[in-house]
Amino acid sequence: MTETLLTTLTSQALEGIVDVTETHGDVVVRVLPAALIDVCTALRDDPAFAFNFLMDVTAVDYPGCDPRFEVVYHLYSLALNHRVRLKVGAPEAAPRVPSVTAVWPGANWLERETYDMYGIQFDGHPDLRRIYLYEEFEGHPLRKDYPKEKRQPLVTRADVEPAQQRRQRERDSERYGRW
């Protein structure tokens, strides 16, 4: 199963794929950020791959490496019952990768979580805001340079109310038109 996928991926040579490797029975594909959407669309639509499930999106922080962040996607194909792991690098200075919400709508929350935890921007995401933490939270806790014991400043109601109302209004008019 893994071998077939490995040979197909190597022989097809999709544009934007840096390399294809295998580790612990999983196929790992490194992709250039610019080609991510094309590669994902091809992996979803090509019957030789048929990756209709986006199971997971997350990132790994490697401080001191270039690029510092690696965004990791786990795909699964229902028809062919195989899996693949995609990896895209994101530089420390301005970590951003294209959003795959247009390919799999389920990426919405997963990318929001990755943004929340690592501060990686997803270009083209329809609603990129924090998902677990509150909007006034400072920093991105799963980065390796975020200390585990770090305390956050106290946010009072007076601090958040005007900003929250403004954001609420903006979102309402955006999503909702004139009501």
Binding site: T23, H24, G25, D26, N52, F53, L54, M55, D56, T58, V60, D61, V72, H74, Y76, L78, N81, R83, R85, W104, P105, G106, N108, W109, L110, E113, M117, I131, Y132, L133, P141, L142, K148, R175, Y176, W179
Partner: protein
């Protein structure tokens, strides 16, 4: 009333319509099990727009795992899906074992399978009972809790704890099953099934219950797949995806069981799928108990498990192993793995990155509840407010797992 509104006063229907009602369900709402806030915009009772806000139980699972040794993460996994803790233990330990490239002996595998299914039963009893309660059926809830108590008695027999089990270890189990476990297991399963038969008689053909569930919260298989939804929700929409069957782990490939699927993918199908899965889990446990082999439950590998006390006190080699194990913990080789198991609500995956040290560089949990809860907005769009409750019940969002 503002000046601009005064101009449109003549048009009565618009005036009556007014603006949509904003309603916040939660974060603590009596009709949702799980701490979650659902922001709704309503036109009368119709849902125009909804936004599900999670994170109220976020406690930094991944950050905590990165700060401790591999074995120290196991108690945290209990708290992911606290209705089926042993499945989480198993998923995490299988992932770390994959990094080491070891496999536990057959008896360990069988006991893990049995324990996973006991947990799955506990989860389904919780889901169905709480779901019924939130539709105002109090009695089935109490009956289901009674049935769940029997499952927790079995947890207790295995590991001493009822909820926070911490039962599975990297490379084995906390301990072998106690004497007479098979008999106790059969007795408890029979008792739970007898109680659940009453629950079924109260619910399955109950017209009020069916009215609330039938035809509500429908989502097509394509929508669910696009959102990465797995587990009973997807099977109720007719897709027989069950990792125990499609990518078997432990000893599921040696056991005979069915994967029930639904037809329409509404809430009633989700209920029926779970009811049938309860029967299948019992079948699995019965077969596994009958086939339970003798032998050790732990791998014989000093990198993973402490050597027996008697040898530690009398032999140099084992003393060193014990010392290294206690001070440094298990140190898997550098690498990364993704291991998925079939959780009670869908695919539960662990993605672990090791840099060769005693602590995971990254320990990611792909929780089914997170992906499943995301689709709630889609399911209730245009539906009635009252449909949110059964739909949310059957999604069975578990806060500990969704928010991690």
């Amino acid at each position: 009333m503002s000046d601009t509104d005064a101009g449109s006063k003549a048009v009565l229907p618009d005036e009556l319509h007014g603006e949509p009602l904003e309603l916040q369900m939660g974060p603590s709402h009596p009709a949702t099990h799980g701490t979650v806030r659902i922001s709704l915009k309503l036109d009368g009772e119709r849902i125009l727009w909804s936004d599900v806000q999670v994170g109220y139980l976020h406690r930094g699972f991944e950050k905590e795992c990165e700060a401790g040794e591999y074995a120290q993460a196991i108690p945290y996994t209990d708290r992911l899906n606290y209705a089926s803790p042993i499945i989480n233990n198993v998923g995490y330990c299988l992932a770390v074992e994959k990094l080491f490239g070891v496999e536990v002996p057959p008896r360990g595998q069988y006991l893990r399978t049995i324990a996973s299914e006991i947990s799955r039963l506990s989860d389904h009893f919780t889901c169905l009972g709480a779901g019924a309660m939130e539709l105002a059926a109090m009695t089935p809830f109490l009956y289901c809790m009674q049935a769940r108590e029997h499952m927790w008695d079995l947890h207790e027999a295995l590991c001493g704890a009822r909820v926070t089990t911490n039962y599975v270890r990297i490379g084995g189990l906390q301990s072998d099953a106690p004497d007479g476990f098979a008999a106790l297991c059969r007795e408890k399963l029979a008792a739970a099934l007898a109680i659940f038969a009453d629950v079924e008689r109260m619910l399955t053909e109950n017209p009020i219950f069916r009215d609330r569930l039938e035809g509500t919260g429908i989502a097509s298989a394509d929508t669910l797949i696009a959102y990465g939804v797995t587990g009973p929700l997807l099977r109720a929409a007719g897709v027989p995806l069950d990792l125990r069957r499609t990518q078997p782990y432990l000893v599921y490939d040696q056991l005979d069981f069915d994967v029930p699927i639904g037809k329409t993918g509404d809430n009633y199908d989700r209920y029926l799928v779970r009811v049938e899965e309860i029967r299948q889990s019992v079948r699995i446990i019965e077969q596994a108990l009958a086939a339970l082999p003798e032998g050790p439950v732990d791998v014989d590998d000093p990198r993973l498990r402490l050597p027996p006390k008697g040898r530690v006190f009398n032999r140099m080699e084992e003393l060193i192993d014990q010392f290294k194990m206690v001070t440094e913990g298990a140190r898997p080789p550098a690498g990364e793995v993704y291991q998925a198991v079939e959780g009670a609500n869908g695919e539960l995956g662990f993605y672990i990155v090791s840099n060769g040290s005693g602590r995971p560089w990254k320990c990611r949990c792909r929780s089914p509840s997170f992906s499943n809860t995301q689709v709630l907005s889609e399911m209730v769009q245009g539906a009635l407010l009252a449909d949110v409750v059964p739909t949310f019940d059957m999604i069975n969002m578990i806060g500990g797992e969704c928010d991690r």
